[in-house]
């Protein structure tokens, strides 16, 4: 990245850890063979994949056999939700999710609605949180699959996954968690957590891009139908030549995360505190989500009387997101923030700051200062009354 850019968009994507980058480079020379090939070179690739499965399963406390490699969280979400719903369709066709999920979740549910499934969309409170009691009330005898994300990508809000999962377990409902923003960042122990399907992606925790995984619990009734068809790789759940290099990189990223997850969390908490201390001084600023129930690596704020796109440009060379990174180029106000009760105007002014391991305290202090200046300048350009 150019030195004068200040990157505060770690929730959109993280840089590759230098050790992971080095491993990838080494794999390009020594582990390039197809891991399905039954010769010495293929076995080396296979061994790398097995090692990586061990590293990732240690991070999540699962059996390596429960992990299916995918191209990223989008594919994992599709496989879990479409594959899980179809696998259980003979038992019932009612599904439950929230409108504040990532598009990789909501768009799969929209597709399933067109195919005859019935979806209940549960709204969060204004702080973004789902009340487990409301959740329990929405379940029916024919509910077969629930998908609730761990850390929200726009606000950082963390749902009560243990409580929601316990309710699903009681009723034998498949429970999928999109943990793209959580894995490698907050401790996740899947022996403790009642989760059946969990999506993750390498590029959100300093691993490679283009590689992800789906955890599929090894318990009765917990299966997915494939959504891609081809060779016999990965027990026919997901075909295609496995990219041994990317998988090795994801494994190493998982191992690095295991070793520093608490220190990382402390660092992020300090940064968010410093950032919010500076931004809180700007007139008319509101936190989107909930500071207490929020992952500390994300701070999303809205502000009166400022256009979000202009704010983003005015903030350069600081790199932050408006709305979701995945639709930053669209002009629509974020549907996630609308679901939290924000007006269109407030939603479109939202700026998401997200930080990571390399972020320094002076970066967020600078960002807070620039935020105040940018808001002031844009307000000075605007006609007096806009609301």
């Amino acid at each position: 990245m150019k030195d004068d850019l200040i990157y505060l968009d770690y929730a959109a994507s993280t840089p590759v850890d230098p050790r992971v980058a080095e491993l990838l480079l080494d794999c390009h020379r020594t582990r390039f063979a197809n891991p399905s090939s039954n010769h010495a070179a293929g076995r080396k690739s296979r061994a790398s994949i097995e090692h990586a499965a061990g590293q990732l399963s240690a991070l999540l406390n699962v059996d390596p056999k429960t992990l299916i490699w995918t191209s990223g969280a989008t594919e994992s979400d599709n496989l879990a939700i479409a594959g899980g719903a179809r696998y259980r369709a003979h038992r019932g066709k009612h599904l439950v999710t929230m409108p504040t999920e990532h598009k990789a979740v909501t768009d799969v549910f929209h597709m399933l609605e067109k195919q005859g499934f019935e979806v209940t969309w549960l709204n969060p409170a204004d702080n973004g949180l789902l009340d487990p009691a409301d959740f329990a009330a929405a379940l029916r005898a024919d509910t077969q699959l629930v998908s609730i994300m761990y850390v929200n990508n726009e606000t950082g809000v963390m749902q009560d996954i243990p409580a929601i999962g316990a309710i699903c377990r009681e009723r034998d409902i498949l429970f999928h968690v999109d943990a793209a923003q959580a894995v490698g960042k907050i401790p996740i122990d899947l022996q403790e957590l009642p989760v059946d399907l969990l999506s993750l992606t390498g590029h959100k925790f300093y691993g490679p891009k283009g590689i992800g995984a789906l955890y599929i619990a090894d318990r009765p009734g917990c299966r997915v139908e494939p959504i891609l068809f081809g060779g016999g790789q990965q027990r026919r759940i997901r075909p295609g030549t496995l990219p041994a290099d990317l998988i090795a990189g994801l494994g190493l990223a998982a191992e690095i995360a295991s070793s520093r997850i608490d220190a990382d969390l402390d660092h992020l908490t300090d940064l968010r505190h410093a950032l919010w201390a500076g931004i809180d001084e700007v007139d008319g600023v509101l936190v989107n989500g909930d500071l207490d129930a929020g992952f500390p690596g994300i701070l999303s704020v809205s502000v009166d009387n400022v256009d979000g796109e202009s704010l983003l440009l005015e903030l350069e060379p600081i790199c932050v997101a408006t709305g979701s990174a995945c639709n930053a180029l669209s002009q629509e106000p974020s549907y996630v923030l609308r679901a939290l009760g924000r007006s269109d105007l407030l939603a479109q002014s939202a700026i998401r700051f997200s930080f990571g391991r390399p972020t320094r305290r002076e970066d967020v202090e600078f960002a807070a200062r620039r935020y105040g200046e940018a808001v002031a300048r844009l307000r000075s350009l605007a006609p007096e009354v806009t609301t």
């Binding site: 440009l313 180029l329 006609p383």
Partner: protein
């Protein structure tokens, strides 16, 4: 899709808004719609635009377009306002087509301003 949605000109006009502000004793036109709120103020002497100022709430393209418009039209005859079309601005500043609606708001408020100037200067 070009990788940068903001042309060098848009970046420049957005960053240097010399014509942002108000004018005393000016003719004023104002519109708020489609996520944009624009106000133009003009002083006119003898059919010539003396000064132009804008206030804008909107995306960078809208703000840049306002600054561009003001800078281009100061010192020109009022009739030149009639020649302003959103399509020219979009071409000259390389505004992406998705922003057409917003730039049309500028065209509208310029029309309004022109009419207001003619109304003012018409014999009472």
């Amino acid at each position: 899709m070009s990788s940068d949605p903001y042309s060098a000109l848009v970046r420049d006009y957005f960053a240097h808004t010399a014509h942002a502000g108000d004018l005393e004793d000016a003719v004023v036109a104002e519109i708020a719609e489609r996520g944009v709120h624009l106000r133009l103020a003009a002083t006119v002497d003898n059919g010539t635009i003396q000064a132009l100022r804008f206030r804008a709430w909107g995306c960078p393209h809208v703000i840049a377009a306002c600054e561009y418009f003001c800078a281009e039209h100061e010192g020109r005859p009022v009739g030149a306002l009639g020649e302003l079309h959103a399509s020219n601005i979009m071409r000259n500043l390389s505004v992406p087509v998705e922003k057409t609606g917003r730039i049309l708001v500028l065209e509208d408020v310029v029309r309004l301003l022109e009419r207001a100037i003619r109304d003012e200067s018409a014999p009472h």
